[in-house]
Amino acid sequence: MSFINTLDPQLHFITGKGGVGKSTFACTLAHYFAEQGFSTLLVQINAEDTHSRYLECPPIAHAFMKVAPNLEAINLDPEESLKEYLLLKLKSKRLHRLLFDNQVMQSFFRFMPSLPELNMLGKIWYHSQEKLPHKAYRYEKIVIDCPATGHGLAFLQVGEMAHKSVQSGPIAQEAASIQEMVSNPSTSCLHVVTLAQDMPVQETLGLIETVKAKRLIGLGLLVINGVWDVLFAPSLAKAVMQSDSNLEWKEVAQRRILKEQEQQLQIKRLLQRTQPMKSVQLPFEPSGEVSSATLELLAASLKSQLEFQDA
């Protein structure tokens, strides 16, 4: 399987443990697709908007916003998605108001398992099918920044869950087609983001096993984020460790070496256990800066790794 295949699907779901850089990678991938000339949509799921800092644009809300050439962004709101869904289904504003502006109905909708998630996925599905007058897809690539691991997997299973709980009627049918969209490897894939640290690696391995066992969704890239450059080759590291402990530079060097060694160990562990998944490594940014400049750098790094592994 080459990279071309890995990035072929239209829908790209991104998940990982909290704090590993899911949003960073979602923005990077969307930026990469847009630069390749694909008409791209970047989606946040009911999130505290973080994408606007990378894209250097106004806050992203529940409305399509053009943020760069070929790139639009949106932050889905569950209630708004539900309203849109009902309007689409009921085709009558009066009936819609009757259902939605009623407190009893509000309680009812809250009671329905996974309904908000289903509506948000449904909206993504709806827009993935949209075509322009000349028959091309409105969005050739859709990048979805999912909630953190546990919630992220639950999110991908809502179609199935909603189908089980409702069983009949239009909602059940839609849940089934959403499930089909997620689980079809030629339509959708899941990229898993992690840091090369013990706990995130542990959780990532568990996540990948679950996805495989349940055949939830096709697996895309394993993204190892925040990787420090190896400054100290083994011979240099050995020289540092054996040096006199009074040397004033020793602490800085030692701290860095321990970090590098731990990272390399975790990367090895990840790569061994996730075969044959393809992986990319994104560099650590010491200044911690979040801007479109950082995004450019990350997208360039992603591009060169994809091309290298493709060759």
């Binding site: 443990k17 909290g18 704090g19 590993v20 009911n46 505290e48 973080t50 800092r53 289904k89 009936l95 009757l98 259902l99 009623n102 009893v104 109905m105 509000q106 309680s107 009812f108 809250r110 009671f111 329905m112 398992p113 996974s114 909630p147 953190a148 919630h151 639950a154 709980s165 409702v166 069983q167 009949s168 009627g169 239009p170 909602i171 059940a172 013990d198 706990m199 995130p200 450059d229 400054l231 100290f232 080759a233 240099l236 020289a239 540092v240 004033e248 530079w249 602490e251 800085v252 060097a253 030692q254 701290r255 860095r256 321990l258 731990e262 010491p286 200044s287 911690g288 800066e289 979040v290």
Partner: protein, 364 residues
């Protein structure tokens, strides 16, 4: 610093987004307080094996288990009061709550078997936070701990934890459903559905079309089963809500000192302030120490490349330290006084031993 703030508290609630080291900091805070002579319980939701290992256990139990004080003595921290630790089992906590509040056993079983209960207790957003509060209340009422440290579930939105009780109550609000249901059981024991007025009938038929009738039937059954539990549940929720806003509870925010994490921390802080919860501290975990300047001529000439590597390591560490310092200073702009900011230095290695926890507790 933390010892002063915790002087009169019975609870310490540690909040923060995922991956910031909240569990480790909560554990270290527990060790600190026990070393000061307060009988302490640490309640975590994190099943990480490493944390259990750090307390000398294979796995954390779902009920309080006392930690062997000898573990920490070796690292120079003596626990002057008993320290216990437990892992909160969310599903079990919900089951206990329902069993406690239900007047009879048959009803408990009806509720447990209902799919809506499974959803409510295992998946509904806010559900975890709700039972975490509830468990805290129960532990406080049933035991005599001087301080309970709660490691909260990681939340997507800052508000989630603090607003969970209110949201769950409104979710279960029977007032709304009273209009929705006839409230009568027919002779066949089936529960009926009735909407008020003509518009209601229309709404019902639309809902049935959208979801199928079985769904509505099961929902109705669930709401009926909850009827007796609802009033005591409201009472209980009010009681622990009162406890959280009382002076007995203290809230701290655990965060990473990275520029990208500041937005989240600010949101948590402002939510605590707005709701008049007692704010204790911002705890920045893993702060990179600024390296002492090194002169190039003192760097080793051999092996080749070592001097260059050290210079680069030095440059990057300085850059990180500088960026973190600026990020932490920016908290003053939101009104956090620097005396309320606790900086925990980044340790050389991950914490997975009693020694590590002991060291961290002394920094607190």
């Amino acid at each position: 610093m933390l010892e002063k703030v915790l002087h009169k508290k019975s609870f310490l609630v540690c909040m923060g987004s995922g991956g910031v080291g909240k569990t480790t900091v909560s554990a270290a805070a527990g060790v600190l307080v026990a070393s000061l002579g307060k009988k302490t319980l640490i309640v975590t939701i994190d099943p990480a094996k490493r944390l259990a290992n750090a307390f000398g256990m294979d796995a954390l139990a779902p009920e309080p288990t006392q930690v062997d004080p000898k573990l920490f003595e070796q690292s120079g921290v003596s626990l002057r009061a008993p320290l216990s630790v437990m892992m909160l089992d969310m599903g079990a906590a919900w089951d206990t709550l329902i069993s406690d509040l239900s007047p009879d056993k048959t009803q408990v079983n009806t509720i447990f078997a209902n799919r809506f209960y499974q959803y409510l207790s295992r998946e509904l957003a806010g559900s975890q936070e709700f039972v975490a509060c509830e468990a805290l209340y129960r532990l406080h009422a049933e035991h005599d701990y001087d301080l309970i440290v709660l490691d909260t579930p990681p939340t997507v939105h800052a508000l989630d934890f603090l607003t969970a009780p209110a949201r769950i109550v409104s979710f279960l609000n029977q007032e709304a459903f009273r209009y929705f249901l006839s409230g009568q059981k027919s002779l066949a024991g089936k529960v009926g559905l009735r909407f008020l007025g003509g518009a209601g009938a229309l709404a019902q038929s639309v809902l049935e079309k959208l979801t199928g009738s079985r769904f509505l039937h099961e929902l109705t059954e669930f709401i009926h089963a909850l009827q007796d539990i609802y009033p005591p549940l409201i009472e209980r929720t009010q009681a622990f809500q009162d406890l959280l806003v009382s002076n007995e509870a203290g809230f701290c925010v655990v965060m990473q000192p990275k520029p990208a994490s500041m937005g989240e921390a600010e949101k948590l802080y402002s939510v605590i302030k707005q709701n008049k919860y007692a704010f204790c501290a911002m705890i920045a975990n893993g702060v990179m120490p600024a390296p002492k300047p090194v002169e190039s001529k003192s760097l080793p000439a051999k092996p080749v490349g070592l001097a260059k590597a050290i210079e680069q390591a030095y440059r990057e560490q300085s850059l990180i330290a500088q960026a973190e310092k600026q990020a932490l200073e920016s908290m003053q702009e939101w009104g956090v006084r620097s005396s309320f900011v606790l900086k925990l230095p980044q340790l050389m290695e991950d914490i997975h031993s009693p020694e590590g926890l002991a060291q961290l507790s002394t920094w607190l």
